[in-house]
Structures are given as C-alpha cells and as structure tokens.
Subunit: 309 residues, 4 copies
Amino acid sequence: MRDIQTVINSITEKMLPRLGAAKVADYIPELAKVDPKQFGIAVTTVDGQTFVAGDAKVQFSIQSISKVFMLTLALGKTGESVWKRVGREPSGSAFNSIVQLEREMGIPRNPFVNAGAIVVTDMVLAGHQPREAIGEVLRFVRYLADDETISIDNRVAKSEQTTGYRNFALANFMSSFGNLHHPVDHTLGVYFHQCALSMNCVQLARAGLFLANRGRNPVTGHSVVSEKRARRINALMLTCGHYDGSGDFAYHVGLPGKSGVGGGILVVAPGKASVAVWSPGLNEVGNSALGSVALEMLANEMGWSVFGA
Amino acid sequence: MRDIQTVINSITEKMLPRLGAAKVADYIPELAKVDPKQFGIAVTTVDGQTFVAGDAKVQFSIQSISKVFMLTLALGKTGESVWKRVGREPSGSAFNSIVQLEREMGIPRNPFVNAGAIVVTDMVLAGHQPREAIGEVLRFVRYLADDETISIDNRVAKSEQTTGYRNFALANFMSSFGNLHHPVDHTLGVYFHQCALSMNCVQLARAGLFLANRGRNPVTGHSVVSEKRARRINALMLTCGHYDGSGDFAYHVGLPGKSGVGGGILVVAPGKASVAVWSPGLNEVGNSALGSVALEMLANEMGWSVFGA
Amino acid sequence: MRDIQTVINSITEKMLPRLGAAKVADYIPELAKVDPKQFGIAVTTVDGQTFVAGDAKVQFSIQSISKVFMLTLALGKTGESVWKRVGREPSGSAFNSIVQLEREMGIPRNPFVNAGAIVVTDMVLAGHQPREAIGEVLRFVRYLADDETISIDNRVAKSEQTTGYRNFALANFMSSFGNLHHPVDHTLGVYFHQCALSMNCVQLARAGLFLANRGRNPVTGHSVVSEKRARRINALMLTCGHYDGSGDFAYHVGLPGKSGVGGGILVVAPGKASVAVWSPGLNEVGNSALGSVALEMLANEMGWSVFGA
Amino acid sequence: MRDIQTVINSITEKMLPRLGAAKVADYIPELAKVDPKQFGIAVTTVDGQTFVAGDAKVQFSIQSISKVFMLTLALGKTGESVWKRVGREPSGSAFNSIVQLEREMGIPRNPFVNAGAIVVTDMVLAGHQPREAIGEVLRFVRYLADDETISIDNRVAKSEQTTGYRNFALANFMSSFGNLHHPVDHTLGVYFHQCALSMNCVQLARAGLFLANRGRNPVTGHSVVSEKRARRINALMLTCGHYDGSGDFAYHVGLPGKSGVGGGILVVAPGKASVAVWSPGLNEVGNSALGSVALEMLANEMGWSVFGA
C-alpha cells in the first residue's frame, strides 16, 4: 500500500490552484453563502488510522450523503421490505425528477434520489413524532462516527423548508399514490433536518467506515449491519450514488460513493478504507467538482478501484 | 479460496429441479426453438484453470454479451472519443427503448443497450464493407477466447434481420440525428451477425478473462487492453450490463456482468476469475433466470463480490 | 330549428334505463356520496329561452367546468399576457399529469388541465387574500348566471383540500419554477373553492350563455368579453376541454365544451345556445358517461355541430 | 358576406413586404430549393365560385395536407374500424415524435401526425402493390379536385425516400408492434409518393370543397362522404391538424385546417368555403408563416370562425 498521507498531501496541493473555479449550489440560500475556496479530505483505514489534508476539519452540510445513513437505519428497522416502497435501479434522471414517479405509480427508482430518500425517511419516522425521529437520526450518525459533537444545522434545515418546493411536490405526489404513511409536513420535516447534518471530513469518513469493513466499525467494535447488507449498500452507492452522473463516477473512480450538494462525497474502498472529501464548487451534474477529481486521483494512486485486480 | 469445482457442482445440482420453469425468449424465432431444460457454467481463474459443470460445452447464441467485445474493439480503434457518440450512464429503461433517444437527440445512454451497441457497431464498421467488419469481429472474439472454432450462426442472424423491426427503428432514428455514419443496412447487417456469435460457456469465460486480469489474457499472454481500460469496461458492465435489472444484479451478485437474451451471462470477478453461465429461460427483465440465481450463489460462496472486503 | 323541448325530453327518456351504470368519481370523498342515478339537462338559447328536462334543478359540484369562468376572469384582468404563464395546446395527457410540466419547465399546457387552472387561479388571486379572491369568483359566476343564490360547497372544498395531494404536487412543482406568485396554500385555497362551486344545469347553462352569443349575455345585456375573446375561449374548450378525451368529444359532439368530475358538462353552440348536462357516472376518461352520449344526440338532432354546414 | 375578392386582394398586398422572411423547410433536399418569396391563395365557395390572388396557380408539394385525403380514402375502405389502429386525440408533440408510440404500444395518436398517416397509408395499401395504391391515391385526388392534370413529383418522393430516416424509424417501430400489415418499404413507398402530390392553391381548395359542403362536392355533384363523416374529418383537422401548433391555430383562425411543410394550408369554413393558401417560409412549429397570418385575417374579415355566432 502506498503511503496514504503522501498521496493525499500531493492531491490537496494539486487542488489548490483550482479552488473556487466551480460554482456553489445556490438553490438552498444558506448553502449559497459558503466560501467555495475550500478543499478537505480524510481517509480512515479499516485498521483504524485516519489521515487528513486540507480543510478536513471544517464543518459542512452533508446533504444527500445522509441518504446512506437513512437507508441503513430503515433497513435495520424494516429489513428487505424496504424494497416494496422504493426500487433499486439507477434512475437515469436528475436528483429531483418527477417524471419517473408518474410512470411508476409513486414508487421512486432508488433510495438515493430525493423521492426515494423521502420514502425512506417516512419509514424511519414509523409513527413517531418528527422531533423524535430527528433525534434518532442524530443519535445514529453520532454512534456511527463515534462522535457526540455532531449536530444538525437548523438554519440550513429551515432554509430548505422554505424553498424546497420540488421536495414538497415529490412528497405530495407520492402521497397521492399512498406511498407516504405520515403527513407530508412531518416526513419532510425530518427529511430537511437529516439533510442538514453538519459534519467534517473526519467525522464523515469515520461514519462510513462500517461499509468498508463488512458492516462492523473496527474502531468502536460496533456491528452496524451484516456483511451481506454492507455489500448491498455499497452496490447501491455504486449504481445510484450520483444521480445521472453515477455511470461516470463508476467509470472514473470505480468506488461506491454518495455525493451531496454541499460539496461532500463519501466513498467506500471495501476492505481498505472510508474516504470523505469536501469542496463546495459543483460540476454540471451536481457533484463536487474538485472532490470528484481528487477521488479519481486517490483511487488510481492507491489502486483501490473495485474493478481492478 | 473454496474449491471451485465443488461449489459449481453443488450449484448445478440445485438448478436441476428448476430447469425449464422460466420462458425462453421468443421474439427471435430461431431462439424460440432452444430447449429450455439446459444449464451450464464455466469458471476460468486468472491462473489459467478452467472448471465446468452442466451443459458448459453446448453452443448457444451469446446475443447482447457480444456488446462487451464490440465496445472493447471500438475503444481500441477510436479510444475515448467513443463517448462523443454514446453515453456512459445507466438508462433505467428496457433494452430496446427509444424514448430516451428522442430526448437526448440520438445519443444512446450507454453501449450496452441496443441503440448504443448499434452506434458502437457503426464505429467498428469504420468505412469497411459489412463482410469485412463481421470477419474482424469474429477474428477478435476467437483471439480473445484463443479458440479458432468459434463461429457465427447465420440462421440466427437472418432470423433477427427479418424480425428486428425495433432495431431498424433505433438505427433509422439515430441516422436522422446523424449518429450513424454508414447505411442503416450495413450497420445492422454487422450488428445482427455479432449478436449471433455462437459460443459455449468455456469459450465465453475464456474470452472474458482479460477483464478479470488487468486487461491481459493470462493464458495466451495477449495484452488486450490497458489495466485502466479493463477497470472501466468492468465499471460499465456493473452499472449498465443488465438494462433495467442492472441495479438488482449489482445488489444480489455484486460483480460486473453482461447478459444476453440467449440465456447466457458473462461475469467478471476482478483479480479472480471470469465466469460464464447459460440457461435459456429468462426472468421478467430478460436475464437468464437460473443463471442469475447461480451467479448469486457462486459470488456468495466464493466471497467474490466487489463490494465486500 | 327542431323543437328543443321535444328533443331533450326524448333524450332524457332514453337515458333513464342507463342511469347508474357508470361509476361516480371517488377520489374526492364528498363527491363519492352523490347518487349516480341522476340525469339533467338545460338548454338556454341566444334569444333567452330556457328548456329543461330531468334533474336540471338539482345542485351539483361543477368542478373543472369552473376553469372556463376562471380563465374568463383572468383574461379580463391580465389580457393576453395570460399566455406567458400557461400554454394553449392540447396536452394529450390526463387532467393531473405532471410529466409535461417537468419537460416544459413549469409552464402548463393549457388552462383546462389542473396545473393550468392553478396558474390561472394564481393570476386571479393577484395579490389579494384568498378569501377576497374566492368572493370575487363567486360574484363573477353569480353575475354570469344572473343568479345570486349560487354558492360554494365548503364541505367539498374541504374534502379536496384534505385529499388533493396531486394538486399540491402540481402547485409546488410550478412554484419551484417560479410560476406561482403566491404561497401554495393561498393559491390552492382559492383553487379548491372555485372547484366546489355548486350549481344546477339551469344556472350553468345561463352562466355559459355569453360564449354562445359573441361575448354578451342576451338576457342581462351584460357584455362579458369581446366577440373575439368569446371565439377564442370556445376554441380552447374545443381543443382542450376534455383532457385526453378532447379529440373524441370534438369527433362525436363537435361543440366546444368543458367537463367536470362532478358529472357536469357545459357546451356552447355558437350563435344558438348554451347547454348544461349533468349525470354523475363517469366514463373511462373522466367525463360524464350519459352526459357525453346525450350531447352527441342533441348536437346531431339539432344540427348544431360547428363542423357542419 | 363581404366581397371575397376584395378581401383576399387586400391580404395578399399586406403579405408582399413580408415575403421571404421565414425559412423554408430544409430537411427534404428537394423542398429546400423552393423560392421562399411566393404567396398564393384560393377560395372556393360552396356555390361553386373560385377567387384567387397571388401565386395561386403555382404548383407546390402539398406534403402533410394529403393526410386529409388519405384518411378520407381509408375511412371509405374500412369505415370506423380505422380507429382500432390509430387514435383521435391531439398529440401535444411534434409531427415526427416517437415517444408517444412507445408508451401507447405502436398506436399513433391521430391520423395527422406522421406515424398515424403511415398507418392510414398501410390501410389504403390493403394488400395491393405500392404502384397500384399510388395510382389509386392519385385518381382519388384528381376526382376530388375534378382536375386530371394533378400529378406526383417523383423527385420529391425520391428525395424523401433517401433522407426520411425518421419515417423509417416510425414505420419499423410500429411494425414491431404489429401495426403495419405490409413490408415497411411498401408502405413507406406509397407514403412518400402521396406526400409528394404537386398541386396549386386552386386545385387544393377544390379538392377540399366537399368538407365545407356536407361531404358533397357542389361543383361536380360527387358525394364523397356522408354529412356526418365530413363533420368528423373537420373535427380532426381542428384538433390535430397542426401538430403541436393545433391549439394555437384554433385560437387564432378558428377553422379546421391541415398544414404541410411545403408551405401549404388547406382550411375548411363549413357551409361557406374551402380555402388554400401557400407560402413556403415556415414558422417555428412548421406551418406556413404567412399562410397562418393570412388565414387569421381572412377568418376575421369574413367572420368565418366556427366559434363565432
């Protein structure tokens, strides 16, 4: 194995001159305020070591990356019956497309597009009050990352709630097909809060480590999911983790990953490490521009692609 | 590593009572004649050993599996400029859908749906006569499998030519956008012939071995593609190899694969082996029903999923 | 001219044995309670006579028929700039389809599908409070029909508000494109109330009479719209008045019309009469089953098709 | 009635300064050669008089206008069973869209989009050789117009045959659903020839006169279709005659009409007259730009809209 610290230092250096070139997401007002000239990376290996470079300890809004944790939580609660209400196929569409929902009678394509994550949130809600469910999500992510300081940025949650017409459209549309079991306001209340989880690269890499290590966090010893379930969540991240850029990410990086419009990407190198990168500027399909480039470099340098020998 | 022969014997035995339950593809008249009560499997490891069970030496029509070889050939001829005329994203649609083509102005989603493979065939044709291109394809597959006896079943090719209205529709549609550079009849002539390649599981597993071994066939020593390109082709197989069943296959099997309506599936376990299964009965998304089940068992037993540790 | 009373008596008699065969709309709970075994018809001629038969004086929920009055109101307020926010083309889709909206960036196809009527309602709202706008709509319809007893059924409005997820989806979706200028709850509040206008056939036929008489109500003498605008509203009713059954209605009846899921249909015979029919059972495209049949008979008997000599 | 000659003279004069501003269709090479600076109009009244202005006696390619004559012919042969293989609803799509065909299993929306007219052509073919069917079509149009000099421009037919990939796509697509009963080449052979009918405004207005006069040509006395069928064909022209510009045409002109990319438009004023205009430059939805404007003026001046009193 190459010296991870050297590799990520070198990558971070190469990113410096390109900082700020790509545009920050602006459809959520709070996110539009973030300084685009930032880049951080953290790698946590399955033997428990953590390597960092750049702005790895700056908090950011993880946004859609939380969809991975929500799915893990829902699978824990409901098991494979999750798949009665959401599919497992790549959508070939943008994160907030509604077209497919009409054709497929309110069943979203997969848990990593917005519609799918809203249904998954509805499963996590499971009859509780939104406040309780938000608490449960927060506790779960703290447990995964073994870090009690992780919190939710209420201004971001509020900001999305006020401007998230598309998500209200998706939720109401699914309700019209009976695929939400709670009032739209409740489900979306939880949804906007879990999107607003505020983490840094180190916390995020640690939270994802169980997926690189057969379902078990090697640091805390917590067994989060079975080995088989860890493989399956990884498979979903690889095929569906980047909306209509999923094929491209698999082609260039070759690792399961999930991106968020806050500029973060969580990536899993099975049997090796969990990686979190963050840089707020986005490319044309809504993924962190520098983050994607950095991960391609890292996967190549380390030989971590799941598609190689 | 578990004893491969024992594993595939056991799998084959479990398949026996289920033979003939699923329906054979009937839209190509010649294929409809095949006896559904057959099952074969061949595994070729990167150290050159081959293990077989069941009807592993019966010839069958590889159909869409050839799309992998055609893409390899086109990438060799044109390099990454292939991606100017065909995308790299999962389609979320059936193999012969035309809807996406209209929305995306004649650019197919990926090289593994019919429209994409027709464009790839047009690239392979590259100004030559159909007869020459068919010869080149045949030579290439024989070279990959190191087997000069591989042939094309002209009755199958003819049968598709007579009934392949959908493919004629797709080809003419792309021509209307200028995305075919040869007469429709020429491109489809080659397309129908490469679909009609007749191979058995042993030949097919060997032909795919370079993808499991960093681009190099370990038996013949031929370097077919670079290590990076092998990884990328594998990535495409994983995200797009089974039409609108691609996500499901990744979830259950966790290996890059490409299926054909003849009932064959080629699967790559990077660094380990190339696997070919065949059983003519198809499931509801058009993949071999028993083949899919057998591969899930094999991947589980051998611990070969790319998403595990 | 044939004797209208004789003709509608004969039609009503023919309808009697078929009463109750078709199913009442059940997606709005309040409407599901209506007794399906009812049929009424009223014809008001441009010389001011009214002919009735059957249940012509029973109140029913006019539902989508109100879209005609809302468009008239919006055109009066904003003139032809209405067409910047809504199209004028038949949709070829169901009344509540959302697919077209995504493709056309939040601009509904025409004012007679739900999405279009919601935008038109937003124009009528024009900065006022929902309560004021509802009052204005009610006053306008009373003025058109010259009948101060017309009212809004608040239970129906409430019933739709509680179950109208699709309309909430449509409204939020258009808001995400900036095509609603008021809070979704305000616009939909007005929308659900105008749908819940309760009228009988006589009132409805009179309210539509201006469209048959060059924009002027011949009874009250009120000039509602210009002659040109009356023609244009009629044209929209003919091409778009029955969702994906518009072509069929034009083919069989040959008159501008607008149907509602409450089982009413308003039809305009330019230069001759305004007709309202009502029977709650719906056909497969959501129009009154007996109402459609009755209107075909009436148009044939009277020679009123706009497409004849 | 206003003096028709005065009205069309005045309209033609107003068109002169605008000649040549709009672009000629260029996707059929032969049509691209036509001089855009031409405008002609002919009006034939139900009492048999003909009024002309401008280039009313210059031959042009009637293109899609022939779809009206083909439908008339098919209805004569097969009656209402025509509607088992083609719909009667506006498509809301471009003339050559294929998307709807996939969703609706090979049944085109209406006989006036290309796919629908291809199916109608297949009905007219009815087991005969293409040459015979072309002869029949030509004889029928000569009979309608009472003019034996009408011919088909074989260079135009050839030009479309060589470049008509979209139509080949549509035809093959429908064949894949079993909705063509003859070889694609035969059906399209007839289709391309009937599109290439060469007529002038006078001939065209006369050929359409039966539709303005209850199905009977008042000049020849030929009874072409029943009164009811004439009304129904007019209804289809109004709702579907101008592709995704049908609603707009109804809104502005208010008369049943059918346009062709050659720049011609045939319009029917029921009980009054048949009108043909021609000017090669097209607007953004593919209809004659000046022709549309001229017809709006004519309908207004004469008070011919079917939606007025």
